[in-house]
């Protein structure tokens, strides 16, 4: 964003809080939302960090402290062991549904 915008805000006597919430954030709102969406996409597709630690149980957990699984971790865990065509096809369908 142009520095003049921010500086004119300070020149009018605004505090940092007012400049950030009333000038900077509205100016970059579109890009900020885009950045959040990119981050969401990365978190949704993250595979190994989750696979290591989530436990990969084949149940719907009833507690946040129970082990579970995510789409990405299920694919990563089972793809090498999928022997029947139906098993790998199901994993591919699972992956397509997450995109």
């Amino acid at each position: 964003m142009p520095p003049q915008l921010r500086e004119s805000g300070y020149g009018m006597g605004s505090t940092s809080y007012e400049v950030v919430t009333k000038i900077t954030l509205p100016y970059v709102r579109r890009s900020a939302v885009g950045a959040v969406m990119l981050g969401l996409g990365r978190a949704l597709g993250e595979t190994m960090a989750v696979t290591f630690i989530i436990g990969n149980s084949h149940d719907v957990p009833t507690s946040l402290f129970a082990s579970g699984s995510t789409i990405a971790s299920t694919i990563a865990n089972e793809f090498n062991e999928a022997t029947s065509p139906m098993h790998s096809a199901a994993l591919i369908a699972l992956g397509s549904s997450s995109s």
Binding site: S16, Y17, E18, G41, R42, G45, T47
Partner: protein, 196 residues
């Protein structure tokens, strides 16, 4: 009263600034903690064998040579493919595509690819290369998958950086008549952008 309003604004600003400092502190603290535990716990396991011997079956001594070599080969191949496609596509988007419908579609699809989960890219490459074209697992399939992940990022960054170039710099290439089209991009756009 004006002074009451001023006190409120000062307090709000102070709270906001403190919160920003705290949030940055939490992120930096996590980063520092990771680096610190990596170094303190990892330094003891580091010796020459790690870099010179392949991984042996569990229990017997060995190293990580195979993984290191595999990473180098796969990443090098992926970068060759991704840099060629990504830099050319990004240059086209910034210098030629402009706001045409085709460029808008390409830009939109590139943004979608940018956030595609890596697991999906893996499934896609598996189905095309591993299952059908090549028929077995290979380094080339791995590097194609890595290239597919890298291309959208390179395209987007190249385009953004080229667009940051001052218009005057680009136009000075157009003004001296022979530098049209690709030569203009080559002389005025890409060299300053390469540093970024």
């Amino acid at each position: 009263m004006a002074s009451l309003r001023r006190v409120r604004r000062t307090i709000t600003d102070g709270a906001f600034t403190t919160f920003c400092w705290l949030a940055t502190g939490v992120a930096l603290f996590a980063l520092g903690l990771i680096l610190w535990s990596l170094v303190t716990q990892g330094i003891g396991g580091l010796n020459l064998d790690v870099f010179t011997r392949p991984t042996e079956p569990s229990g017997s001594p060995g190293g990580l040579l195979n993984a290191i070599v595999g990473s180098i080969i796969t990443c090098a191949l992926a970068m060759i493919m991704a840099v060629i496609v990504g830099v050319l596509a990004g240059t086209w988007l910034a210098e030629y595509g402009g706001e045409s419908l085709y460029a808008k579609i390409i830009r939109f699809l590139n943004d979608i690819l940018l956030s595609a989960p890596s697991v999906l890219v893996g499934l896609f490459v598996y189905n095309i290369l591993v299952a059908h074209v090549i028929g077995h697992f290979s380094a080339i399939s791995g590097s194609v998958a890595l290239a597919l992940i890298a291309v959208p990022i390179i395209t987007r960054t190249t385009e953004d950086v080229l667009k940051l170039q001052p218009t005057a710099l680009r136009e000075s290439g157009w003004r001296s008549a022979p530098l049209t089209g690709p030569r203009s991009a080559r002389f005025s756009g890409v060299p300053p952008a390469a540093a970024s």
